[in-house]
Subunit: 109 residues, 2 copies
Amino acid sequence: MPTISKGRTPVTFINVFTVAPENQDRLIKLLTEVTEQNVRHHAGFISASLHRSVDGRKVTMYAQWAGIEAYESMRRNPGPAPALERALQIATFDPGMYEVAEIFLPDGK
Amino acid sequence: MPTISKGRTPVTFINVFTVAPENQDRLIKLLTEVTEQNVRHHAGFISASLHRSVDGRKVTMYAQWAGIEAYESMRRNPGPAPALERALQIATFDPGMYEVAEIFLPDGK
């Protein structure tokens, strides 16, 4: 399973899609298909965790890549483009590229 | 270290703060202090991972709690309030509460 550790590598992408609740299931299906069939096979892919908001209004992909170049190479590849275009017909997209600054655990862990 | 697994528990909070780049370090310091000194000691807290965007414009907290009630109990507690108020003087806050819909790993993992 994916793990989170402090530092600059892997590079973390937290991409928030905002969607009407009636389209949340469809957006999850689109992102699942493109990640399963295409994105996860690219060099440098480490993990992706697809999150469904309880209020129905967001879908957030938390993804880890070995480096920025690997992610950009995937984005330049034409494979995922049609699914992402369909996703953007029903959702807005707020991307973010991160390093992990700090990790916090409960007392005694 | 934090791990991500599919399902409704733990409950995942992905809270995105948008900030001017010159205030990113200050926001990270505020959120680090309140999480280290207060939030992580609450019952039901599992983990928090604080993410710094490479472009300087976002800070995203990825947090796992045993349940919604535990998180809401922490938010009602007056301890974190002053730090969160100071954070909101320099940042906007877009909260989200999620379950993990799918996990994707590379081929062979």
